[in-house]
Symmetry: D2
Subunit: 431 residues, 4 copies
């Protein structure tokens, strides 16, 4: 047990009436939901970066957190951080974690040194994972923090950066593969522009498409069985990011013929920044065949930037997991808490309580969603609404505009209530 | 001359120093810009609906405009409205106009009656167009105002509405073809949803895709040579519209194999509502091979709805026309003023002055854009920024992630200034 | 019983397990909450305009609702509408209703005729109210729909409009007084500007301040005991409205010395449009001594305009009623549903179900809020957080900057966790 | 001459046709505008923090700028930074600069050490200022970066922080006074909340009001003749900041009786974040008697955070300076460039060019604004619009609602065009 989490014991399920701030009230891993254990539905993962790397800074202020492993610029401190991380995974009982290369090892002076350090940490992780630690939901490369990426990663005007990215992603995919990661994620935080005035949009998209093709090829070459996931975000840090939202990513994948090779990791906060609800992005991913995984958090509706807060609304979580269930549930994906403490939440206990609260919200949401599906509470009315389509052949091959037009003569279609409020009331019976 | 515009004579170009509120200060149709007449670059069109149909209402108040042809619910009044419209076209000297079926004729009791009335108005237009009136830039069908469309047009849960839409679009395409329209536009104001709770997203997108395929087929069947254009808009009237933005439309077209058959009509206000700049949407349309036409207006940056104001910023217009010129200029497309008077601007003179002001802004923007291109003021620095790519083969077929990764060993790429402020200063030399 | 609501019987409380869409699951008027009946806490009111006047139009489409009393342009139809309204009040069992003059009577050709009609309707209401109908929570004047108000009501550039407003408000206050209304509300939908270019901001604010002073004076003159309430809204219909938010209204009242005479009616949707949470606006109203009443609805977080939807989030309602309770609960104020059906919700049953769902959400929110207060769940930690202030005299009269500065020498204050996530988890124990 | 700016000579006015990226094209200090030198109108100031302290980081990436004086954590480096700063002031020829304590000296281990260092730097500045360097437009204290302020400065739950702030502000006011600063600014970046759940709004506002009173008292005590300015900002870093916008600050000042003692420093970017145009905030400041100074920058309209870019739109600058001129021009205030390079703009020349471009935009805006005023181009139509008010006594003392109502009988006020588009066209004649 580390000094940091001293005195905090593994969180247990105590039921809805518990007032223990460090116990689960709803997350009960073995509870069966639609024939599957709750843990296997939710597949929770903790994000290494927010909980063990982020120091509590914001654009107007510096570090607020004091952690024994900060600044983690040596391998020893990096291991101390890993000890704390795996202890928290154990306290929470999460089955998965996620990391960037940059989160887990100090960057080296050269690509080779960075890679060596990553491998050393992977060795360290392997031991811990073997020792009952969680599995790896996904790995990823941080290609946005270092100044070399300021003008883009694979979309950089400098081809040397493109090559640097290739080496970086290769190293991260290798480590993810070695650790039996179930997915590999690409978030293009610098794949976009700050101003169109200096940007060759066409060329940058070509670079990004070609890079992704090579990532997919490499996956197959090394026999990595996990999914490649793109994480859409519309903006921030840059003015515009190319992976704007799910629909945009779909078009990008289609353009480069990769729609069967790549899926999406959808984040609540990014959906909000793109002007969508979370459930919209999830429904769109399902419809377009791209549903992969989720980054669970929440964005403050009054803030214009990515706030990455822990989820705290059961009604919203219920609608999200409803879409997850409709998509058939997670296969390689899971629920990663891409959520960070507020910078005023200084204590180790805050870190634990925040995750517990988030996990409980997800559990409540899942249970409500499953019950709505089992009761056919929303799907029944939905089917009824479109039932008229069962009787017509308008969408068949061979149908023509003028052919159907001819059949419209004399029609005077009358609208039917959409019953939105009644459906909202139904949802409120479950949340 | 109608009573309404009595005393207003055709607007003339008087040069930048003119203080005549009804004269052009910058729009000079015959002025040569990059080897082409200004009029042929800009291809201005007036939108029938805002100027001759809209009554000045908003969600909290009713009609403010008093026009002799209101309520235009008889064919006589509809013709009186056409007289005023064509007189304004003549006063402004615009080469084009645009209309919805709903703008030009009162709706009939049946599809057949509505179609007959549309054809009668088309006859009336033909005479006026032959008599020196403007040409038709595009026609379109209003499938959003009538209550039958409240839950969607081609995406309606009721297949009868789908059929009704087929008949409506067929009639409008026929008329557009007859009047030698240069494009046919689809704006999906009701193709979206108010709540996901009652919506079958997958089915609705299938309906919309199939409908568009039939529109394209019908175009070829009747020999219509114009372009089919989709006009993206993210929301309003509904919570979410499927044609969210250019990138979304691209994905939709790719999904249904229509990317070579359909282009986009990009509107400034819709770009803003989608979280983009106008120039972004235009650059994206160019990059994705979808550039068709523009709806020129502006959206108030402090309002969250579609304000459809006349453009009044030269710097913004310059960046828009810069993208138009980079896309090769308009072919079938043009600059349609999808802009309406503020509801307090009651007078006929307001209507003329607003268009003149907008046309002048576009002319200033075009001239600045052309000069920047001729001077290589932005393209030179842009080429230089990406010059390193000329020397590498990273994007070639056969290149692999690990192959390029190997070449990155030992690299330490150093960032180079993006020079945004200098480029902005350069633009300001031209506007 | 009217034909419209035929077959719909008064809604009853059936408890949380009921699946009857027209029964209350949480709203139980006689249930005691913190020593007061639930009905007396919530003081529900129905808004006449949304439910009985609005026809289902939006900026891109017309009427969707079909009501036997539409277009209500005769006194007979107006009475038929009143019959339906009072029937719905009875079905819902609400203790209050609210109306604008414009909602209840067709406008006359002159001020005098409009006033006469208003008085006739007031007679009609009086009978119904005496007959067990609800009481009047507040009355108000519609000074935004008619074109005479397009450039402002009391802030109009034309003093005749100012005079017209005086007559209109006087008539509405007289009727409100006669009907024993408990408040009189002013919403300044046209008190703002569309462009600063034609606006004399200083003069318009002076007009508005003077007008409000006269309203207050008139209240005292006629002996009206209710509260005068301003309803803040930042924009829409205009680009900017002067009563932007609670803090702005406070400054306005202070400027004209009216802060003890006027309170605010806070609306959820208006708070959201102003960039605030609903609970923020309520907390600010309490802090500034302006808390009066609430317009309960919700705004879609992805829409940039006033969506006026029925509330459907218990967590949000709980935080709102928490502030209401902290403010001491309602005195003259109440919970007015300033909420309208979606335009696709065509049926009488939708209207009833929407109100029932909203009332249930409020009831759940109130119960959760009361319990949190009773448990000292949030107030305890809050008091503890500021406890240090009990021991210092820094805010006392006579303290000076340099005096306190001297006492800071040697201090090195250390931050303490703000515990936000733990507090959010606590709230989630109650909702 | 420092190594950093080596080879860059003082910028000169070369006229509109110059293509020299480091020359002024419009800013000509001695040019007379409405009887006053352009320099004396604009009173430009450079902000120390953005240009000499900020390292190019953003929430997803670290330092990009390499400056010889970084990390400036010793007094020697701080002086080296000052050398560069004053050299840039000289190159630009700006008459003013602005700074926070935190910008100019490394923080000490104690309040006393920090103060000593501040005084040493002030000595160093004094020499440079005496040697032809610019004057001090304003000083301010950074009470947001250090973790001690994470929960507020004067509004902190810990009274020790309040005391610490008193000492800090006292030291900064003393130095500002000694350096003959013309204003003292308070920006409350941490005076707000992250969550209402842990916040005592009432108490925090009381703390803030009392603190401001003490600042004002201290100003008088030491004989500081400059203005005390509050800089409104709605949010960021926190979810909500108390000095939300000009109207909110006005209410706050009125509440504490300080409206005659304190004015506002209005920033374009902050106005945008608050949902206002810059000219709105300036017009409001003028109307409420609070106009003090401006922070000139621009916010990206598509970004939801404070982008602090250099201004680049002449039309927008013209409307801003129009309000400045209507307010009587600056007295103690000026035009401070609270603007930073994009993090990709690495070079010393970028820093110079960005300021030059910004100064030119302001100069163009000022000239256009002055000409519009001289021509009575907007004020004439505005006076005419309200002319009817000259003939009535409705706003006089003694007028009553019922009295004026009586005079409305028989009136039927007819709306008059607001002519917005015509006025916009007029503005476009000047920009």
């Amino acid at each position: 047990m580390t000094e940091f989490f001293k005195g905090i014991t593994p969180a247990k399920f105590e039921g809805a009436d518990s007032t223990n701030p460090l116990a689960f009230r709803h997350y009960n891993p073995d509870e069966m939901i639609m024939g599957k254990r709750m843990e296997d539905h939710l597949r929770f993962a903790v994000a290494y970066w927010h909980s063990f790397v982020w120091e509590g800074g914001d654009p107007f202020g510096g570090q607020t957190f004091e952690r024994p492993w900060f600044p983690a610029d040596t391998m020893d401190l990096a291991k101390q951080r890993a000890d704390a991380a795996f202890e928290m995974f154990r306290i929470l009982g999460v089955p998965y974690f996620c990391f960037h290369d940059h989160d887990v090892r100090p960057e080296g002076a050269t690509l080779a040194e960075s890679r060596d350090r990553l491998n050393q940490i992977a060795d360290y992780f392997e031991t811990k994972m073997a020792d009952g630690g969680p599995k790896l939901l996904w790995g990823t490369a941080n290609m946005f923090s270092n100044r070399r990426y300021m003008s883009g990663a694979s979309t950089n005007p400098d081809p040397d950066v493109f090559a640097y990215c290739a080496a970086t992603v290769k190293a991260c995919m290798d480590v993810t593969h070695r650790l039996n990661g179930e997915n590999y994620v690409l978030w293009g935080g610098r794949e976009g522009y700050e101003t169109l005035l200096n940007t060759d949009l066409d060329r940058e998209l070509q670079q990004m498409g070609r890079f992704l093709q090579m990532v997919v090829d490499y996956k197959h070459k090394i026999g990595f069985k996990g999914a490649i996931l793109i994480e859409p975000k519309p903006q921030e840090p840059t003015k515009h990011q190319y992976d704007y939202d799910v629909a945009t990513v779909y078009g990008f994948l289609k353009r480069f013929g990769l729609e069967d090779e790549v899926k999406v990791n959808v984040e609540q906060g990014h959906a909000i920044l793109a002007g969508h609800s979370f459930e919209h992005e999830l429904a769109m991913a399902r419809t377009l065949g791209l549903f992969g995984s989720i980054d669970m958090n929440r964005n403050d509706y009054q803030s214009g930037w990515d706030t990455d807060q822990f989820p705290n609304s059961t009604p919203e979580a219920a609608l999200a997991y409803y879409e997850v269930l409709k998509a058939g549930g997670f296969t390689t994906g899971g629920t990663n808490f891409d959520a960070k403490l507020r910078r005023q939440s200084l204590d180790a206990e805050d870190l634990i309580a925040a995750h517990i609260g988030g996990m409980d919200i997800c559990a409540r949401g899942l249970k409500a969603a499953a019950k709505m599906l089992e009761d056919d509470a929303l799907e029944g009315p939905r089917r009824a609404r479109y039932a008229g389509w069962e009787k017509v052949d308008y969408l068949d091959e061979g149908q023509t505009l003028d052919g159907i037009a001819a059949r419209a003569e004399g029609l005077d279609p009358q609208p039917v209530s959409g019953r939105q409020e009644k459906l909202e009331n139904i949802v409120n019976r479950y949340v």
